[in-house]
Protein backbone atom coordinates (compact mmCIF):
# COMPACT_ATOMS: atom_id res chain seq x y z
CA UNK A 1 0.00 0.00 0.00
CA UNK A 2 1.32 3.37 -0.99
CA UNK A 3 1.55 5.79 1.86
CA UNK A 4 -0.61 8.90 1.86
CA UNK A 5 2.50 11.04 1.92
CA UNK A 6 3.99 9.38 -1.12
CA UNK A 7 0.75 9.87 -3.00
CA UNK A 8 0.49 13.50 -1.97
CA UNK A 9 4.07 14.15 -3.01
CA UNK A 10 3.49 12.48 -6.38
CA UNK A 11 0.42 14.58 -6.94
CA UNK A 12 2.22 17.77 -6.03
CA UNK A 13 5.00 17.02 -8.49
CA UNK A 14 2.53 16.21 -11.20
CA UNK A 15 0.61 19.38 -10.42
CA UNK A 16 3.72 21.39 -11.11
CA UNK A 17 4.20 19.54 -14.40
CA UNK A 18 0.70 20.01 -15.73
CA UNK A 19 -0.04 23.42 -14.27
CA UNK A 20 0.33 25.48 -17.44
CA UNK A 21 -1.42 23.24 -19.99
CA UNK A 22 -4.49 23.05 -17.74
CA UNK A 23 -4.63 26.79 -17.41
CA UNK A 24 -4.46 27.21 -21.17
CA UNK A 25 -7.43 24.90 -21.60
CA UNK A 26 -9.59 27.54 -19.94
CA UNK A 27 -11.16 29.68 -22.66
CA UNK A 28 -11.58 32.71 -20.44
CA UNK A 29 -15.00 31.81 -19.14
CA UNK A 30 -15.15 30.56 -15.57
CA UNK A 31 -17.08 27.31 -15.67
CA UNK A 32 -20.39 26.88 -13.91
CA UNK A 33 -19.10 23.91 -11.95
CA UNK A 34 -16.25 26.03 -10.65
CA UNK A 35 -18.56 28.91 -9.79
CA UNK A 36 -20.95 26.56 -8.04
CA UNK A 37 -18.31 25.03 -5.83
CA UNK A 38 -16.33 28.07 -4.82
CA UNK A 39 -13.43 26.46 -3.05
CA UNK A 40 -10.75 28.53 -1.40
CA UNK A 41 -8.15 27.11 -3.74
CA UNK A 42 -10.29 26.65 -6.80
CA UNK A 43 -7.44 26.47 -9.28
CA UNK A 44 -5.36 23.98 -7.39
CA UNK A 45 -8.37 21.81 -6.64
CA UNK A 46 -9.12 21.58 -10.32
CA UNK A 47 -5.67 20.21 -10.88
CA UNK A 48 -5.88 17.67 -8.11
CA UNK A 49 -9.12 16.50 -9.60
CA UNK A 50 -7.64 16.33 -13.05
CA UNK A 51 -5.08 13.94 -11.64
CA UNK A 52 -7.86 12.10 -9.85
CA UNK A 53 -9.39 11.31 -13.23
CA UNK A 54 -6.43 9.29 -14.49
CA UNK A 55 -6.18 7.67 -11.05
CA UNK A 56 -9.81 6.62 -11.11
CA UNK A 57 -9.58 5.47 -14.71
CA UNK A 58 -6.82 3.02 -13.88
CA UNK A 59 -8.52 1.96 -10.64
CA UNK A 60 -11.74 1.18 -12.49
CA UNK A 61 -9.83 -0.75 -15.13
CA UNK A 62 -8.23 -2.85 -12.43
CA UNK A 63 -11.74 -3.69 -11.23
CA UNK A 64 -12.49 -5.33 -14.55
CA UNK A 65 -14.01 -2.53 -16.57
CA UNK A 66 -13.36 -2.61 -20.30
CA UNK A 67 -10.74 0.06 -21.18
CA UNK A 68 -12.91 1.03 -24.16
CA UNK A 69 -15.77 2.13 -21.93
CA UNK A 70 -13.96 3.43 -18.87
CA UNK A 71 -13.14 6.82 -20.36
CA UNK A 72 -16.77 7.71 -21.02
CA UNK A 73 -17.69 6.61 -17.53
CA UNK A 74 -15.12 8.82 -15.85
CA UNK A 75 -15.93 11.74 -18.15
CA UNK A 76 -19.52 11.73 -16.91
CA UNK A 77 -18.41 12.34 -13.31
CA UNK A 78 -17.92 15.69 -11.66
CA UNK A 79 -14.60 16.57 -10.08
CA UNK A 80 -16.00 15.89 -6.62
CA UNK A 81 -17.35 12.52 -7.72
CA UNK A 82 -13.99 11.57 -9.18
CA UNK A 83 -12.33 12.62 -5.97
CA UNK A 84 -14.67 10.62 -3.76
CA UNK A 85 -14.17 7.55 -5.92
CA UNK A 86 -10.40 7.98 -5.94
CA UNK A 87 -10.33 8.22 -2.16
CA UNK A 88 -12.78 5.49 -1.28
CA UNK A 89 -13.09 3.10 -4.21
CA UNK A 90 -12.22 0.10 -2.04
CA UNK A 91 -14.58 0.91 0.79
CA UNK A 92 -17.47 2.24 -1.26
CA UNK A 93 -20.60 0.13 -1.41
CA UNK A 94 -21.39 -1.38 -4.82
CA UNK A 95 -25.06 -2.27 -5.03
CA UNK A 96 -25.55 -5.58 -6.78
CA UNK A 97 -27.15 -8.11 -4.49
CA UNK A 98 -30.64 -9.31 -5.00
CA UNK A 99 -33.01 -11.26 -2.87
CA UNK A 100 -34.57 -10.09 0.33
CA UNK A 101 -33.46 -11.51 3.63
CA UNK A 102 -36.44 -13.22 5.15
CA UNK A 103 -35.41 -12.65 8.73
CA UNK A 104 -35.22 -8.90 8.24
CA UNK A 105 -38.64 -8.86 6.67
CA UNK A 106 -40.12 -10.83 9.54
CA UNK A 107 -38.54 -8.53 12.10
CA UNK A 108 -39.66 -5.54 10.06
CA UNK A 109 -43.26 -6.68 9.97
CA UNK A 110 -43.32 -7.20 13.73
CA UNK A 111 -41.66 -3.87 14.29
CA UNK A 112 -44.03 -2.06 12.00
CA UNK A 113 -47.06 -3.76 13.44
CA UNK A 114 -46.13 -2.80 16.97
CA UNK A 115 -44.87 0.65 16.26
CA UNK A 116 -46.64 2.17 13.33
CA UNK A 117 -50.17 0.89 13.85
CA UNK A 118 -50.62 1.25 17.55
Amino acid sequence: MKSVWARTLCRLLMVLMVWSPMQLANAGMIGTDQAASVATQADRDTLFQFLGRSDVTSQLQSLGIDPATVKGRVAAMTDQEVQSLADKIHSMPAGGDSGAILLLIVIGVVVWWIWFRR
Binding site: G28, I65, A76, P93
Partner: protein, 333 residues
Protein backbone atom coordinates in the same frame (compact mmCIF):
# COMPACT_ATOMS: atom_id res chain seq x y z
CA UNK B 1 -23.40 -41.43 10.47
CA UNK B 2 -24.07 -40.97 14.13
CA UNK B 3 -22.02 -37.81 14.20
CA UNK B 4 -24.09 -36.07 11.54
CA UNK B 5 -26.72 -33.73 12.78
CA UNK B 6 -30.10 -34.69 11.31
CA UNK B 7 -31.54 -32.05 8.96
CA UNK B 8 -34.55 -31.58 11.19
CA UNK B 9 -32.34 -30.53 14.07
CA UNK B 10 -30.68 -27.87 11.89
CA UNK B 11 -34.10 -26.51 11.05
CA UNK B 12 -35.21 -26.21 14.63
CA UNK B 13 -31.88 -24.68 15.57
CA UNK B 14 -32.36 -21.99 12.94
CA UNK B 15 -35.91 -21.38 14.00
CA UNK B 16 -34.85 -21.01 17.59
CA UNK B 17 -32.18 -18.58 16.49
CA UNK B 18 -34.67 -16.57 14.42
CA UNK B 19 -37.12 -16.51 17.29
CA UNK B 20 -34.46 -15.31 19.67
CA UNK B 21 -33.37 -12.59 17.22
CA UNK B 22 -36.93 -11.39 16.79
CA UNK B 23 -37.28 -11.45 20.54
CA UNK B 24 -34.29 -9.16 20.91
CA UNK B 25 -35.88 -6.65 18.58
CA UNK B 26 -39.21 -6.74 20.36
CA UNK B 27 -37.44 -6.25 23.67
CA UNK B 28 -35.58 -3.30 22.30
CA UNK B 29 -38.90 -1.86 21.21
CA UNK B 30 -40.52 -2.50 24.54
CA UNK B 31 -37.71 -0.51 26.08
CA UNK B 32 -38.77 2.37 23.85
CA UNK B 33 -35.91 2.12 21.40
CA UNK B 34 -37.31 4.30 18.67
CA UNK B 35 -33.81 4.96 17.41
CA UNK B 36 -33.97 1.65 15.53
CA UNK B 37 -35.92 3.45 12.83
CA UNK B 38 -36.14 7.09 13.89
CA UNK B 39 -37.68 8.50 10.73
CA UNK B 40 -40.42 5.88 10.57
CA UNK B 41 -41.45 6.48 14.14
CA UNK B 42 -41.36 10.22 13.47
CA UNK B 43 -43.60 9.72 10.43
CA UNK B 44 -45.93 7.63 12.54
CA UNK B 45 -46.12 10.16 15.35
CA UNK B 46 -46.41 13.38 13.35
CA UNK B 47 -48.97 12.01 10.92
CA UNK B 48 -49.06 12.23 7.13
CA UNK B 49 -46.81 15.13 6.03
CA UNK B 50 -48.96 18.04 4.81
CA UNK B 51 -49.84 18.08 1.14
CA UNK B 52 -49.21 14.38 0.57
CA UNK B 53 -51.87 11.94 -0.57
CA UNK B 54 -52.59 8.98 1.68
CA UNK B 55 -51.67 6.47 -1.01
CA UNK B 56 -49.70 6.69 -4.28
CA UNK B 57 -48.49 4.11 -6.75
CA UNK B 58 -46.72 4.92 -9.99
CA UNK B 59 -48.08 1.78 -11.57
CA UNK B 60 -46.87 2.67 -15.07
CA UNK B 61 -43.24 2.60 -14.02
CA UNK B 62 -41.53 0.00 -16.20
CA UNK B 63 -40.15 -3.15 -14.64
CA UNK B 64 -36.85 -4.76 -15.61
CA UNK B 65 -36.30 -7.96 -13.66
CA UNK B 66 -32.65 -7.95 -12.73
CA UNK B 67 -30.14 -10.53 -13.73
CA UNK B 68 -27.55 -11.65 -11.23
CA UNK B 69 -25.76 -8.73 -9.56
CA UNK B 70 -27.30 -6.32 -12.07
CA UNK B 71 -29.65 -4.40 -9.82
CA UNK B 72 -27.76 -1.17 -10.58
CA UNK B 73 -28.42 -1.24 -14.34
CA UNK B 74 -31.98 -2.51 -13.73
CA UNK B 75 -32.83 0.22 -11.21
CA UNK B 76 -31.24 2.91 -13.35
CA UNK B 77 -33.10 1.76 -16.46
CA UNK B 78 -36.35 1.85 -14.50
CA UNK B 79 -35.76 5.47 -13.48
CA UNK B 80 -34.41 6.61 -16.86
CA UNK B 81 -37.14 5.05 -18.98
CA UNK B 82 -39.79 6.41 -16.70
CA UNK B 83 -38.21 9.88 -17.12
CA UNK B 84 -38.49 9.51 -20.90
CA UNK B 85 -35.10 8.14 -21.95
CA UNK B 86 -34.76 5.14 -24.21
CA UNK B 87 -32.49 2.55 -22.74
CA UNK B 88 -32.32 -0.95 -21.27
CA UNK B 89 -30.47 -2.55 -18.35
CA UNK B 90 -28.26 -4.37 -20.89
CA UNK B 91 -27.22 -1.05 -22.44
CA UNK B 92 -26.40 0.34 -19.00
CA UNK B 93 -24.20 -2.55 -17.87
CA UNK B 94 -21.08 -1.17 -19.61
CA UNK B 95 -21.82 2.23 -18.04
CA UNK B 96 -22.31 1.34 -14.37
CA UNK B 97 -21.42 -2.28 -13.64
CA UNK B 98 -18.10 -3.05 -11.95
CA UNK B 99 -17.25 -6.72 -12.54
CA UNK B 100 -14.77 -7.20 -9.72
CA UNK B 101 -17.15 -5.70 -7.19
CA UNK B 102 -20.21 -7.43 -8.67
CA UNK B 103 -22.18 -4.24 -8.35
CA UNK B 104 -22.46 -0.55 -9.17
CA UNK B 105 -21.14 2.53 -7.35
CA UNK B 106 -23.51 5.35 -6.36
CA UNK B 107 -21.26 7.87 -8.10
CA UNK B 108 -21.59 6.00 -11.37
CA UNK B 109 -25.35 5.70 -11.04
CA UNK B 110 -25.47 9.50 -10.84
CA UNK B 111 -22.97 9.95 -13.66
CA UNK B 112 -24.59 7.50 -16.08
CA UNK B 113 -28.00 9.17 -15.82
CA UNK B 114 -26.45 12.34 -17.25
CA UNK B 115 -25.23 10.44 -20.28
CA UNK B 116 -28.87 9.72 -21.07
CA UNK B 117 -29.93 13.33 -21.01
CA UNK B 118 -31.26 13.32 -17.45
CA UNK B 119 -30.23 15.49 -14.54
CA UNK B 120 -29.32 13.20 -11.64
CA UNK B 121 -30.01 14.46 -8.16
CA UNK B 122 -29.24 12.81 -4.83
CA UNK B 123 -32.09 13.45 -2.41
CA UNK B 124 -31.64 14.74 1.12
CA UNK B 125 -31.53 11.74 3.50
CA UNK B 126 -35.14 12.11 4.60
CA UNK B 127 -37.96 9.60 4.48
CA UNK B 128 -40.43 12.42 3.96
CA UNK B 129 -38.57 13.60 0.84
CA UNK B 130 -38.70 10.08 -0.55
CA UNK B 131 -42.49 10.09 -0.16
CA UNK B 132 -42.75 13.60 -1.61
CA UNK B 133 -40.87 12.66 -4.78
CA UNK B 134 -43.04 9.58 -5.29
CA UNK B 135 -46.16 11.67 -4.75
CA UNK B 136 -44.87 14.11 -7.40
CA UNK B 137 -44.67 11.23 -9.87
CA UNK B 138 -40.94 10.52 -9.73
CA UNK B 139 -39.68 7.00 -9.03
CA UNK B 140 -36.77 7.09 -6.57
CA UNK B 141 -33.72 4.82 -6.65
CA UNK B 142 -32.73 3.81 -3.12
CA UNK B 143 -29.64 1.97 -1.91
CA UNK B 144 -30.39 -0.68 0.68
CA UNK B 145 -28.17 -3.05 2.56
CA UNK B 146 -30.00 -6.34 2.90
CA UNK B 147 -27.08 -8.27 4.31
CA UNK B 148 -26.85 -9.55 7.84
CA UNK B 149 -23.49 -11.22 8.23
CA UNK B 150 -21.90 -9.56 5.22
CA UNK B 151 -22.81 -6.54 3.13
CA UNK B 152 -25.68 -7.02 0.73
CA UNK B 153 -25.90 -3.72 -1.09
CA UNK B 154 -28.92 -3.51 -3.32
CA UNK B 155 -30.56 -0.86 -5.51
CA UNK B 156 -34.33 -0.79 -5.70
CA UNK B 157 -36.78 1.75 -7.07
CA UNK B 158 -39.48 3.12 -4.77
CA UNK B 159 -42.63 3.72 -6.80
CA UNK B 160 -45.41 3.97 -4.23
CA UNK B 161 -46.51 4.04 -0.64
CA UNK B 162 -49.56 3.55 1.52
CA UNK B 163 -49.31 5.76 4.56
CA UNK B 164 -52.13 4.22 6.58
CA UNK B 165 -50.62 0.78 6.19
CA UNK B 166 -47.12 2.13 6.59
CA UNK B 167 -45.80 0.36 3.50
CA UNK B 168 -43.58 1.25 0.59
CA UNK B 169 -43.92 -0.28 -2.90
CA UNK B 170 -40.72 -1.01 -4.82
CA UNK B 171 -39.51 -2.46 -8.07
CA UNK B 172 -36.78 -4.63 -6.62
CA UNK B 173 -34.67 -7.41 -8.07
CA UNK B 174 -36.96 -9.98 -9.56
CA UNK B 175 -40.01 -8.65 -7.75
CA UNK B 176 -42.19 -6.37 -9.80
CA UNK B 177 -44.13 -5.19 -6.78
CA UNK B 178 -42.35 -5.58 -3.50
CA UNK B 179 -44.32 -4.26 -0.54
CA UNK B 180 -42.06 -3.35 2.34
CA UNK B 181 -43.08 -1.90 5.70
CA UNK B 182 -41.63 1.57 6.34
CA UNK B 183 -39.71 0.27 9.35
CA UNK B 184 -38.07 -2.56 7.41
CA UNK B 185 -37.15 -0.23 4.59
CA UNK B 186 -35.66 2.24 7.02
CA UNK B 187 -33.58 -0.49 8.69
CA UNK B 188 -32.00 -1.50 5.39
CA UNK B 189 -31.94 2.00 3.88
CA UNK B 190 -30.34 3.84 6.78
CA UNK B 191 -27.24 1.69 6.34
CA UNK B 192 -26.46 3.55 3.12
CA UNK B 193 -26.95 6.88 4.90
CA UNK B 194 -30.48 7.04 3.43
CA UNK B 195 -29.03 7.35 -0.06
CA UNK B 196 -31.59 8.05 -2.77
CA UNK B 197 -31.48 9.56 -6.24
CA UNK B 198 -33.84 10.69 -8.97
CA UNK B 199 -33.27 11.18 -12.70
CA UNK B 200 -35.09 14.23 -14.01
CA UNK B 201 -35.76 15.35 -17.59
CA UNK B 202 -34.15 18.82 -18.06
CA UNK B 203 -37.47 20.64 -17.87
CA UNK B 204 -38.37 19.30 -14.43
CA UNK B 205 -37.01 20.03 -10.98
CA UNK B 206 -37.48 17.57 -8.09
CA UNK B 207 -40.08 18.90 -5.64
CA UNK B 208 -37.70 18.43 -2.72
CA UNK B 209 -34.69 19.96 -4.50
CA UNK B 210 -32.54 22.28 -2.41
CA UNK B 211 -31.33 25.29 -4.36
CA UNK B 212 -27.60 24.82 -3.88
CA UNK B 213 -27.55 21.05 -4.38
CA UNK B 214 -29.72 21.37 -7.47
CA UNK B 215 -27.37 23.94 -8.99
CA UNK B 216 -24.46 21.55 -8.38
CA UNK B 217 -26.45 18.80 -10.10
CA UNK B 218 -27.08 21.11 -13.05
CA UNK B 219 -23.44 22.13 -13.34
CA UNK B 220 -22.59 18.42 -13.47
CA UNK B 221 -25.23 17.90 -16.14
CA UNK B 222 -23.93 20.83 -18.17
CA UNK B 223 -20.43 19.33 -18.24
CA UNK B 224 -21.66 16.13 -19.83
CA UNK B 225 -25.01 16.73 -21.39
CA UNK B 226 -26.23 18.42 -24.44
CA UNK B 227 -26.05 22.21 -24.30
CA UNK B 228 -29.63 22.80 -25.40
CA UNK B 229 -30.92 20.52 -22.66
CA UNK B 230 -28.76 22.39 -20.16
CA UNK B 231 -30.20 25.69 -21.43
CA UNK B 232 -33.73 24.41 -20.79
CA UNK B 233 -32.74 23.23 -17.33
CA UNK B 234 -31.22 26.61 -16.38
CA UNK B 235 -34.24 28.50 -17.69
CA UNK B 236 -36.58 26.31 -15.61
CA UNK B 237 -34.34 26.77 -12.59
CA UNK B 238 -34.48 30.55 -12.95
CA UNK B 239 -38.27 30.34 -13.00
CA UNK B 240 -38.13 28.59 -9.63
CA UNK B 241 -35.27 30.59 -8.08
CA UNK B 242 -35.16 33.89 -9.99
CA UNK B 243 -32.43 35.29 -7.74
CA UNK B 244 -29.93 32.49 -8.22
CA UNK B 245 -26.70 33.88 -9.59
CA UNK B 246 -25.18 30.51 -10.43
CA UNK B 247 -28.16 29.64 -12.60
CA UNK B 248 -27.56 32.88 -14.51
CA UNK B 249 -23.87 32.10 -14.85
CA UNK B 250 -24.77 28.63 -16.08
CA UNK B 251 -27.32 29.90 -18.58
CA UNK B 252 -24.83 32.45 -19.91
CA UNK B 253 -22.12 29.81 -20.20
CA UNK B 254 -24.45 27.60 -22.21
CA UNK B 255 -25.38 30.51 -24.51
CA UNK B 256 -21.68 31.30 -24.88
CA UNK B 257 -20.90 27.68 -25.67
CA UNK B 258 -23.64 27.59 -28.29
CA UNK B 259 -22.14 30.73 -29.88
CA UNK B 260 -25.05 32.93 -28.85
CA UNK B 261 -22.87 35.71 -27.44
CA UNK B 262 -25.50 38.44 -27.44
CA UNK B 263 -27.82 36.33 -25.29
CA UNK B 264 -24.96 35.38 -22.99
CA UNK B 265 -24.16 39.07 -22.57
CA UNK B 266 -27.77 39.96 -21.80
CA UNK B 267 -28.00 37.29 -19.10
CA UNK B 268 -24.70 38.35 -17.56
CA UNK B 269 -25.65 42.04 -17.55
CA UNK B 270 -28.80 41.12 -15.68
CA UNK B 271 -26.70 39.02 -13.30
CA UNK B 272 -24.28 41.94 -12.76
CA UNK B 273 -27.22 44.13 -11.79
CA UNK B 274 -28.36 41.64 -9.18
CA UNK B 275 -24.90 40.69 -7.95
CA UNK B 276 -22.54 43.56 -8.76
CA UNK B 277 -19.75 41.98 -6.70
CA UNK B 278 -19.68 38.53 -8.28
CA UNK B 279 -16.20 38.07 -9.70
CA UNK B 280 -17.35 35.21 -11.92
CA UNK B 281 -20.11 37.34 -13.43
CA UNK B 282 -17.73 40.25 -14.06
CA UNK B 283 -15.07 37.99 -15.59
CA UNK B 284 -17.48 36.15 -17.84
CA UNK B 285 -19.22 39.39 -18.86
CA UNK B 286 -15.89 40.97 -19.78
CA UNK B 287 -14.88 37.90 -21.76
CA UNK B 288 -18.24 37.77 -23.57
CA UNK B 289 -18.15 41.47 -24.50
CA UNK B 290 -14.56 41.15 -25.68
CA UNK B 291 -15.42 38.04 -27.69
CA UNK B 292 -17.81 40.26 -29.65
CA UNK B 293 -14.94 42.57 -30.54
CA UNK B 294 -15.74 45.35 -28.04
CA UNK B 295 -12.53 45.11 -26.06
CA UNK B 296 -12.48 48.66 -24.64
CA UNK B 297 -16.00 48.19 -23.32
CA UNK B 298 -14.96 44.94 -21.65
CA UNK B 299 -12.01 46.49 -19.83
CA UNK B 300 -13.81 48.23 -16.91
CA UNK B 301 -15.59 45.00 -16.01
CA UNK B 302 -12.40 42.97 -15.86
CA UNK B 303 -10.68 45.72 -13.87
CA UNK B 304 -13.47 45.54 -11.31
CA UNK B 305 -13.09 41.75 -11.16
CA UNK B 306 -9.32 42.06 -10.76
CA UNK B 307 -9.70 44.57 -7.92
CA UNK B 308 -11.92 42.14 -6.00
CA UNK B 309 -9.32 39.33 -5.87
CA UNK B 310 -10.49 36.07 -4.31
CA UNK B 311 -10.31 32.44 -5.42
CA UNK B 312 -10.75 33.26 -9.11
CA UNK B 313 -7.94 35.83 -9.24
CA UNK B 314 -5.83 33.61 -11.49
CA UNK B 315 -8.56 33.18 -14.09
CA UNK B 316 -9.38 36.89 -13.94
CA UNK B 317 -5.74 37.85 -14.61
CA UNK B 318 -5.73 35.58 -17.66
CA UNK B 319 -8.91 37.16 -19.01
CA UNK B 320 -7.51 40.63 -18.36
CA UNK B 321 -4.31 39.78 -20.20
CA UNK B 322 -6.28 38.43 -23.16
CA UNK B 323 -8.41 41.56 -23.37
CA UNK B 324 -5.40 43.87 -23.10
CA UNK B 325 -3.63 41.89 -25.80
CA UNK B 326 -6.62 42.05 -28.10
CA UNK B 327 -6.91 45.78 -27.41
CA UNK B 328 -3.23 46.28 -28.26
CA UNK B 329 -3.55 44.37 -31.51
CA UNK B 330 -6.58 46.40 -32.46
CA UNK B 331 -4.67 49.64 -31.92
CA UNK B 332 -1.76 48.42 -34.00
CA UNK B 333 -4.10 47.45 -36.82
Amino acid sequence: MVDLVPPLAIGTGLQRYARRMAGVFILALAAGCASLFPQTSELGKSGLPPGLPERVELAHTPFFPQEEYQCGPAALATALVSAGAQTTPEALVPQVYVPERKGSFQVEMLAAARRHGMVSYALAPKFEDLLREIAAGTPVIVLQNLGILWAGWHYAVAIGYDYSRGTLVLRSGTQEREVMPFGTHELVWMRSGYWAMVAMPPDRIPVTAEEKSWLNALAAFERVGNARAARTAYEKTLERWPENVNARIGLANVHHGLGDLAKAEAVLREAAEHDPDSVVVLNNLAQTISDQGRHAEALPFIERAAAAGGPFAGAVQKTRATILERLGQKRIE
